[in-house]
Amino acid sequence: MSILFTEEQERYRQDVRRWMEASLPDNWIEAGHWPPLPEDKEQAFLLDWERSLHAAGYSGVAWPKAFDGQGLGPVEEFIVNEEMGRVSAPESLNTIGRELVGPILMSVGTDAQKRYYIPRILRIDDIWCQGFSEPNAGSDLASIRTRAVRDEGGWILNGQKIWTSYAHMASHCILLARTNTEASAYRGMTLFIMPMNALGIEVRGIRHLNGQRHFNEVFLTDVRIEDSMRIGEIDMGWQVAVGVLGFERATTRLYRQQRFAQELGSLVRVARKAGTMTGAMEERMGEIAAELQLLRYHNLKFLRRICDGAKIGDESSLLKMLWSQIHQKIARLGLDVLGSEIDAESPIAARFRKVYFIARGETIYAGSSQIQRNIIAERVLGLPRAERGRSR
């Protein structure tokens, strides 16, 4: 633990740890409420939790004070991240705001956009969703067809988005739309801020494999927004989005490593207590333990690079592949350790049912493992691209 951190940073970690332990509700067991809360109460709790995180100084840690952030550095951000993972703290409902919109606005937003939207993300006045994917533009994001057409100082939006997480509770959407059909596929897209209460937006829920409503379809019919809601330059949305997405993959949610380690620890305890631990099971758990350590070493390495101001590029695909695959191993381990107990009414069963079904999506979203492998093979290792026909 102490390889990178100064004594002052270690003290900061202790403060964070104390706050986390003191602030989680007493019935926060195995990464959730036990007994579980009804959905509306759970959502209200999650919003309260995030507001209290911010009030305590543990959200927007590395964002400037001018925007209600804490004005600290990436190391402190990492520490808070790890400590949230260590207690398996509630997951944010506003990850899109915190991990995508905030960084994008910080890099290309206007002063007015930064001043207005960034504090509102931290205070959870706004919840964001991400309107990138479309029915025919998933991994092949450059094929999006949602159009934005100029109209008297504003824009008219038409099209359809899908897999839009949080759209049913979001106040705003960060939307990628085609603004130029003449330009090449990767040019001619623009990012917008779309208020979800604008006229012409219809949201239809899609039930996730895990049973919950997580993502949505979003239909846009002549939705009108002001030009002040445009993010960055016209036709440059892809370049902005890709720059931030790479960074996002590398740096956000580093708490996963600690959170996963807690999951593994839970399963080790269960297997030992039940007397079902075998040598083979221990080897498998030890392999996951080793991979979690490797993930942490990579995290520390990337953190160092960020501190040194180095650019994080396509090698961030490595982190995405690693964490998603490790988590699937833990998810399968959960099934094997719990056996028929996975179908029981208990905190551990509830936790690992959720882990298993959620983890299926993790090698798919934010760039599937296969896309990550293409990126590594072509852009990191320099292997030749296959000939691809592109049409849109």
């Binding site: 380690a261 030890g286 392999e287 333990a289 080793a290 070493y297 690693l322 590594i376 292997l383 030749p384």
Partner: protein, 353 residues
């Protein structure tokens, strides 16, 4: 402190790489050349005529040795020159000049029974080394002249590298006990650095082949099945690189803070991660590269053969990944189910009467 190498550290690696690349496989001249590069004296304290650097630099040098499949006990010599010098300064000077070299047990430590050294330890380069330095416990090593030890040098796994089982019984008169902390763990890190270098050579050679070799009118590396294997190989290589880099940095930290138990635990855990992952993954990378190459990959002459054999020779002695994974689990998840140890249970058994 960090994983990013300083300019000096990069230079150490580069200068060794250039010199080894030029030297090829010239055999006898290796010692003096390594001495001239400073590779042999990297870890020897400055007041003993060395450079006084740490495990990070040592690992960089050993990685280059692995990348060139160097037939020289570099890890053993660079690490054990200092304890040798503590008892025989003249012998150390010859070692630092590259005129003589040191070997050490391929894994595990010598035992002590009733005041005598005990144990039968596997070692490599036994025909070349003048000195045999064996870790004894956490704080000491035993320094012995190779001449006084019973062994029969033979070549099995790797051409040009003679190995033997060295019997330490009755060797006490010739052994000097010298203080040295964590010698066994440091040897593991340096050997795993060598393994990483060998794996890196295999993987990079394989990727180059994917770009150069054409079939069906295109480079074979344009095929997605091979691309994805290569991408997985990249992740594996980065994993073992970061594992060794982290272990080396943690060990330097532990050696620099002798009183701090947390640093020592970090270092031990990092060594455990290395043992759980590096030898097995390196071997898989060599196997992957052979698969990339098709027929040429399974010929005796093609260099991958030597590298695969090097990885296996070094890795086999370090114990099975399964054993170390269980040890790591008990380390990180408490309630020891197996005794955490860096030793190979089979070798421990051999040593007990």
């Amino acid at each position: 402190m960090s994983f990013e190498l300083s300019r000096e550290q990069v230079q150490i690696g580069d200068s060794i790489a250039v010199a080894l690349g030029r030297a090829g496989d010239s055999g006898a001249a290796l010692g003096p050349m390594l001495a001239e590069l400073g590779a042999l004296s990297l870890l020897v304290p400055e007041d003993q005529g060395g450079m006084g650097l740490g495990m990070v630099e040592g690992a960089i040098a050993c990685t280059e040795a692995g990348r060139h499949c160097l037939s020289f006990p570099l890890a053993e010599t660079m690490l054990m020159a200092a304890p040798l010098g503590a008892t025989m300064p003249q012998a150390r000077d010859r070692v630092l000049a590259g005129l003589s070299c040191v070997t050490a047990p391929s894994s595990d430590s010598a035992g002590r029974r009733e005041g005598c050294l005990s144990g039968t330890l596997h070692a490599a380069y036994v025909d070349r080394a003048d000195w045999f330095v064996a870790p004894l416990d956490e704080r000491h090593v035993a320094v012995m002249a190779m001449d006084g030890l019973q062994h029969t040098a033979q070549v099995f796994l790797e051409e040009g590298v003679a190995t033997a089982v060295v019997d330490l019984t009755d060797s006490l008169e010739t052994a000097a006990i010298v203080a040295m902390d964590l010698a066994a763990e440091r040897l593991i890190i340096l050997r795993c650095a060598e393994i990483v270098g060998a794996a890196a050579f295999c993987f990079e050679t394989g990727v180059q082949y994917l770009k150069d070799r054409r079939q069906f009118g295109q480079p074979i590396g344009a095929n997605q099945s091979l691309k994805h294997l290569a991408a997985d190989g990249y992740v594996q290589l980065e994993n073992i690189r970061v594992a060794v880099a982290h272990a080396a940095a943690s060990m330097d930290r532990a050696l620099g803070n002798p009183g701090k138990a947390a640093s020592l635990e970090d270092a031990r855990e990092a060594v455990c991660v290395v043992l759980s992952y590096v030898p097995e993954t390196a071997r898989e990378l060599a196997e992957l590269s052979i698969q990339f190459h098709g027929g040429i990959g399974v010929t005796w002459e093609y260099p991958l053969n030597r590298y695969l054999r090097r990885i296996i020779r070094l890795g086999q002695s370090l114990g099975s990944s399964g054993y170390h994974r269980r040890a790591l689990l008990s380390r990180v998840a408490g309630e020891a189910a197996v005794a955490p140890s860096n030793s190979n249970p089979d070798i421990v058994r051999q040593m007990t009467p």
